[in-house]
């Protein structure tokens, strides 16, 4: 460049100052586009976070109500005449009219209620679970017969929804009649209606009455299903990954297998359900709706995920470790079991946990094998009929009863808590155990 005459034109007809200005502009433009590029990234994350925030506030906002449940406290007399029994024996308990003493207690509290229809409406305020509760109490303590006790009983879902809506300053009367609302207000004025923590929600199975419905059945079902899935898919997946990485030679056949594994990872999950129906139910004659079959189907679904992540983990172990082990005289099996596997384990576990989290959220493959079902009993093993958490959410979302709306959201919260725990565990394991070279 010509230093002495800054005004002389350069070959393309621009002066030096022009060139500097142009470069300045160019530089500014590049900085601007850099900032824009960054802003796009931040905006994308912002949109994601906003969506998450909306989802969480919506779910937590509707779901919190389900953790509290309305109870009504009444003076119950274990009247032998109403119960229709003389002594407490297993046979007499089965025949005793426990609903009768609940009804008597309600009438004692609100004596002005007369007439068949009105009484029926009054009786509907207490959940029918109360009769079973009183039965259990009498069974435990036979001396209660003939005595009067204050008993806190589960309220019906209509009453529960009304009381909660009144406390939230947005009264919802729904299916309640005018006298029913009046009676509830009277009970409330006497301090007999209270909201307590809903332990029932965590200790019972599904029910068609929202006030008695709980998620324990679904949680246990998910647990049994995942145990079967983990017990099968982890060893099989790891063994397959070891063979493919450490033993198999690269040829057309292994390429073919690799393509197929990647393909299987992308197959829609409902197809695994159809496969499960054909193999496990129709051929092996396994029963419908059991976690054992659910676990087998989900194993088929999670295997590709586990194989792929295990292979990646094995691949990331440096060859020098293998060579050193072999050089010290270890056999190939010793080299793999004592050196490669421990080093690859964090990656494999991470893959397994992510696979399990995916399996926990599945409903489609379970539809075909009958796990999308109403099951009142809490399952006690892998061959008891069971359902799983996402299915429970689906079933409640589809129920007409208003009180199931908040329970649906509460069940979603429980599922999310499990998923967050599992994913955090995966990250923690990776951070904690990962070795870098």
């Amino acid at each position: 460049m010509n230093k002495s005459s800054p005004d002389t034109s350069t070959s393309n007809g621009l002066s030096h100052s022009d060139l500097a200005a142009a470069m300045e502009r160019n530089l500014k433009r590049r900085y601007r586009s850099e900032r824009r590029f960054k802003a796009f990234g931040i905006a994308s994350i912002g949109v994601g976070l906003l969506a998450l925030l909306v989802l969480f506030t919506e779910i937590i906002g509707t779901g919190m109500g389900a953790f509290r449940q309305t109870y009504v406290t009444l003076e119950v007399t274990y009247d032998t005449e109403v119960l229709g029994i003389e002594a407490v024996t297993p046979e007499s308990l089965a025949l005793a009219n426990f609903d009768g003493i609940v009804r008597r207690a309600l009438l004692n509290q609100l004596p002005e209620v007369t007439g068949r229809t009105a009484k029926r409406q009054l009786y509907a305020l207490i959940s029918y679970a109360a009769g079973y509760q009183l039965r259990a109490m009498l069974e435990q303590d036979p001396s209660l017969l003939g005595e009067t006790r204050k008993v806190t009983m589960l309220a019906d879902d209509d009453l529960d929804t009304y009381v909660k809506s009144v406390r939230a300053d947005d009264p919802f009367i729904g299916r309640l009649s005018e006298p029913q609302v009046e009676w509830i207000n009277q009970l409330e004025a006497q301090g007999l209606v209270e909201l307590k923590f809903n332990t029932n929600f965590f200790t019972s199975g599904d029910s068609s009455e929202p006030e008695q419905a709980g998620i324990l059945g679904a949680v246990m079902g998910s647990l049994f299903t995942l145990i079967v899935t983990l017990a099968l898919s982890f060893p099989i997946g790891v063994a397959a990954a070891i063979y493919l990485e450490e033993y198999a030679s690269r040829n057309r056949f292994t390429d073919f297998i690799e393509v197929n594994i990647n393909n299987l990872a992308a197959v829609p999950s409902v197809i695994f359900g159809l496969l499960g129906l054909a193999i496990f139910l129709n051929f092996f004659h396994f029963p419908r709706s059991v976690p054992l079959v659910g676990g087998l189907v989900l194993t088929l679904m999670t295997l590709p995920t586990i194989i792929i992540s295990s292979r990646a983990a094995i691949k990331s172990v440096p060859p020098s470790i293998r060579e050193a082990a072999l050089g010290m005289g270890a056999s190939k099996m010793q080299m793999i079991l004592q050196h490669v596997l421990p080093l690859a384990m964090p990656g494999m576990l991470t893959g397994a946990i992510i696979g399990m989290a995916q399996a926990l959220g599945e409903t489609a493959p379970l539809l075909m094998i009958g796990m999308v079902a109403f099951i009142a009993d809490v399952p006690g093993g892998i061959t008891d009929p069971a359902t799983v958490l996402p299915v429970q959410i689906f079933l409640w979302a589809d129920s007409p009863e208003r009180a199931f709306v908040e329970r649906t959201s509460a069940a979603i919260m429980v599922l999310l808590a499990f998923l967050i725990t599992m994913n955090t565990m995966a990250i923690w394991l990776r951070k904690r155990l990962e070795r870098r070279w």
Binding site: R120, A124, Y128, Y132, F172, I173, G174, R175, S207, S208, E209, L281, F284, H285, F286, P287, R288, S289, L292, G370, V372, A373, F374, I375, A376, D377, T383, P385, L395, A397, D398, S399, P400, E401, R402, V405
Partner: protein
């Protein structure tokens, strides 16, 4: 050697496992999603009140239920199938062909299908003819000849001058749903038959008759809103001009948000559905495999619970869930037939 051992072991467990499963100790029920809520209440109460395990109830849809139910006899097939319509001849034959020869039919009650809008506006006074004209793909030519034209109606006022001038917008279930089948058969066909020349077609050209009466319009005013009735209720709440089609129990539970349209002068209530004056109602059934009685514990007791007055009676717990009960004479007759496990001979 080791391999052989492992293989035998695997085979032994499989055989052992499958034979252990041969005896199922809880009742398995499949079928209609409309009967599902009623079936599960009985199942739950039955499980609580007796020594038997609570039955497993799956909501597979009526058709899917029969497919499963008729697949054979034995612990691996369901014991009962719920249905929101009567079993079809083809399904009955499939059952017979697969050895399911002894079927007990139980009519349990009725279900109403309502067409409703948000309570923020006025309730609609519709006739089945209005519904047909508003929602069919082909409607009779207004010039009076026996021909059809593509549905030209945009607002309710176009259909019937007494109705408001709001755009026709109806949310309803997809064709896979039993609610849709019943709506088409009862409301649409009911309105369709009001035209004399179409009614005559039924005997002369049945296919053409079905084509006119059963096909819903696809140009926008009828919107398929999915199987979830709760979702339809929410959408109606958000859009006061829209109407929605769903089951009576959802109306019962959401009376603060939606109100039902009167059809042919009748509002859907327990009474009008039970006595048949509300035109869009359908019978609900379940079917039992008699061959499983004695094989699976508790079937007879479950039937006794379902057909007891405290369950399906006028004031039984099933009415709490929105089922419309049969009249007491029918209940007595069917209850006795069920007790004797009378087999369905033919349709």
């Amino acid at each position: 050697m080791k391999k052989l051992l492992a293989l035998t072991l695997a085979a032994a467990t499989t055989i052992g496992a499958s034979s252990a499963f041969a005896a199922r100790d809880s009742i398995s029920i499949v079928g209609s999603s409309t009967v599902f809520p009623f079936s599960k209440v009985v199942a739950e109460r039955f499980g609580k009140a007796t020594k038997f395990k609570a039955p497993t109830v799956e909501s597979t849809g009526t058709g899917g239920g029969f497919k499963n139910f008729c697949s054979g006899v034995g612990a691996n097939s369901p014991d009962m199938s719920n249905a929101s319509r009567r079993i079809k001849a083809a399904e009955f034959e499939m059952c017979q062909a697969n050895g399911v020869t002894d079927i007990v039919e139980v009519l349990i009650g009725y279900d109403g299908i309502v067409i409703a809008n948000s309570i923020k506006t006025k309730a609609m006074m519709l006739t089945s003819k209005d519904l047909f004209l508003a929602l069919a793909k082909q409607v009779p030519n207004p010039d009076g000849t026996a021909t059809t034209i593509a549905n030209p109606y945009k607002t309710w006022k176009d259909v019937n001058p007494t109705l408001p001038a709001t755009a026709i917008e109806v949310l309803g279930p997809p064709p896979t749903s039993g609610t849709r089948d019943a709506f088409v058969e009862l409301a649409m066909e009911g309105g369709c038959k009001k035209f004399g020349w179409i009614k005559e077609l039924k005997s002369s050209d049945k296919n053409h008759y079905k084509e006119i009466c059963h096909i819903m319009r696809e140009d926008g005013p009828f919107i398929e809103a999915g199987e979830n009735d709760n979702l339809i209720v929410q959408k109606l709440d958000a859009n006061p001009n829209a109407l929605g089609i769903f089951g009576f129990s959802f109306l019962d539970q959401n009376s603060d948000k939606v109100q039902a349209a009167h059809i042919d002068g009748e509002a859907p209530t327990f009474e009008t559905i039970a006595d048949g004056s509300y035109p869009v109602s359908r019978p609900l059934y379940f079917y039992v495999k008699k061959q499983h009685v004695g094989l699976i514990p508790g079937i007879a007791e479950y039937l006794a619970e379902f057909t007891s007055e405290k369950a399906w009676g006028d004031e039984g717990y099933l009415t709490e869930k929105g089922m419309i009960p049969l009249n007491s004479a029918k209940r007595k007759k069917i209850g006795a037939a069920v007790k004797n496990l009378e087999v369905l001979k033919s349709l």
